[in-house]
């Protein structure tokens, strides 16, 4: 049986390789920061199950400190130059897309067709984890296919992977950190407090009021926090789960999916989402810092209405 732990070991080995390549990159003045950051992430993936809760807590604080206090830098990864890439793109053509398409294809095939498949009575995948495991297998197969099609140096998947991970930097850990914050919010009842506040304005027994409060709350909270990932655990614990799912019997997958997309409508409207809204305004030398937001609002607001309507008509039906 292929388990999620095996995926973690693979990811741990990958992050460890990134740490080692960074340690050997003399071009990066902050190389030991990068080494420490990816090394700590590797420790989490390889040994997280044995560290205990408090050990993992210290580990995540260390990751936040190394990543958050500016210890990460960029080296000069050895990769192909622009001219080589243009020539390579012309030579290889659309074949370049093939390995990239292998990843979603394998992930979908494994997640749908092989989900509950068995060999001699043993399940292929750990129950409930088929999609993630298939994705990891897809990533490995895509890498092998690209290696055999294009014959780059064998270390290229690791050095190129390291190049991309260092470009993403600490932001790579942001979703996992926000998910963890959500768990702390849940453990301390933050959602319940907001839910109590919300229940003072949501009329008793009104499905549509609950849906409007949840979708609108996701958008509003995202505008405030700049990130739908941060808003999701709070608003879902406050309104989505207790009211829409538990009280009115709504479908949790629909509630979560459309709730998150309502949050994305908020992302389009807030300067707090600097990466998406302020950075391009600067990149494109726009005199108005909010020009991109202004171009987005006439789409974001109708979509928020559409999301609210979709949620109302779908979540109680499936």
């Amino acid at each position: 049986m292929i388990t999620l732990d095996m995926v973690y070991w693979l990811a741990g080995a990958f992050f460890a390789a990134i740490a080692i390549i960074n340690a050997r990159d003399g071009e990066n003045p902050k190389r030991w920061g990068n080494t420490a950051f990816w090394g700590l992430v590797a420790v989490s993936f390889l040994f997280g199950s044995r560290l205990g809760d408090f050990g993992n807590g210290l580990l995540v604080l260390a990751i936040a400190l190394v990543g958050g206090l500016g210890f990460l830098g960029q080296g000069k990864p050895k990769t192909t130059d622009a001219a080589t890439r243009v020539a390579s793109a012309a030579r290889r053509g659309d074949l370049l897309f093939l390995p990239a398409l292998v990843i979603p294809a394998v992930a979908l095939f494994g997640g749908i067709v092989l989900k509950d498949a068995t060999i001699a009575g043993h399940p292929i995948f750990q129950p409930k984890q088929a999609t993630l495991i298939s994705l990891a297998i897809g990533a490995v197969l895509a890498t092998l296919l690209a290696l055999s099609l294009f014959r780059p140096p064998l270390h290229a998947p690791l050095t190129e992977g390291r190049r991309l991970m260092d470009t993403v930097g600490w932001a790579a850990l942001l979703p996992q950190m926000l998910a963890s914050l959500g768990a702390v919010f849940a453990a301390t009842g933050v959602g319940a407090v907001i839910g109590d506040l919300a229940s003072t304005v949501i009329p008793e027994g009104s499905r549509i009021a609950a849906v409007i409060a949840y979708c609108g709350g996701m958008a509003l909270f995202t505008v405030l926090m700049g990130n739908a990932f941060a808003a999701f655990p709070v608003m879902t614990a406050a309104i989505g789960l207790p009211l829409i799912v538990n009280h009115f019997g709504g479908n949790p997958a629909i509630m979560a999916a459309i709730g998150m997309l309502s949050g994305f409508c908020g992302t389009l409207m807030t300067p707090m989402a600097a990466n998406f809204n302020l950075v391009p305004a600067a990149l494109l030398q726009l005199p108005d810092r909010d020009a991109v937001i202004k171009a987005q609002i006439p789409t974001a607001l109708p979509l928020l209405v559409v999301n609210t309507a979709l949620m109302y008509f779908l979540v109680f039906r499936f």
């Binding site: 989490s44 993936f45 408090f54 993992n56 807590g57 958050g68 990769t79 243009v86 020539a87 370049l96 990239a100 979603p104 992930a107 088929a130 999609t131 990891a136 990533a139 490995v140 290696l147 780059p152 290229a156 690791l158 190129e160 390291r162 790579a172 850990l173 942001l174 950190m177 963890s180 914050l181 768990a183 702390v184 849940a186 301390t188 933050v190 407090v193 926090m225 990130n227 990932f229 999701f232 949790p252 997958a253 999916a257 459309i258 994305f264 992302t267 391009p280 305004a281 990149l283 494109l284 726009l286 108005d288 020009a291 171009a295 987005q296 789409t299 979509l303 559409v306 999301n307 979709l310």
Partner: protein, 223 residues
Amino acid sequence: MLTLLGIAVVIAGFVLRFNPLLVIAAAALTTGLAADMGPVEVISVFGKAFNDNRYVSAVWLVVAAIGLLEREGLQERARVLAGRIAQATTGRLLFAYFVIRQATSALGLTSLGGHAQMVRPLIAPMAEAAAEKTLGDISDDTRHTVRAHAAAVDNIALFFGEDIFIAISSILLMKGFLEQNGIFVEPLHLSLWAIPTAIAALIVHGWRMLRLDARLAQAERAA
């Protein structure tokens, strides 16, 4: 009410532009302490959650293959394909980019677009060139409007495309959160229900893009 202090920390931290990793760690600790947990207990709760949510970051395994393909010219090839639709007006060009960006995001290829990689070097100049071709000399205001729309198309197509891919981090965040609350959902179901909104985004923004040429012409006449 004191438990809401953590949310105040998140908002204050993001407003003051502190590093988000630090903001989140501070908010987690604040929330736990405000809820009368001891320091060790707070750190343990946060650590357990981090460990339980490792699969959210396990998706980064795919960058080995993507980085390798970039090395061989993936983005350059994407640019060639985008260049073939250069015969269009601003609105049609941005509409075409919207469709491509949304479709590739839905397949998990979110790194094929982006403001630094695609919009600034390629989409914005092509959209401006198309506007000049149809409207002649354009004012700075119109030029800036076109550029802002190029960036907006990238964002909107990404946001309402990526959630169709089962292994994008937002899908995994939802799965993780529901699981902590005792509800098991397959990522596939979450991505399936992102499709109606994706279609709505295509219709709403596509309609706006196809009307953009007329709006730009009107603005030019008024200027």
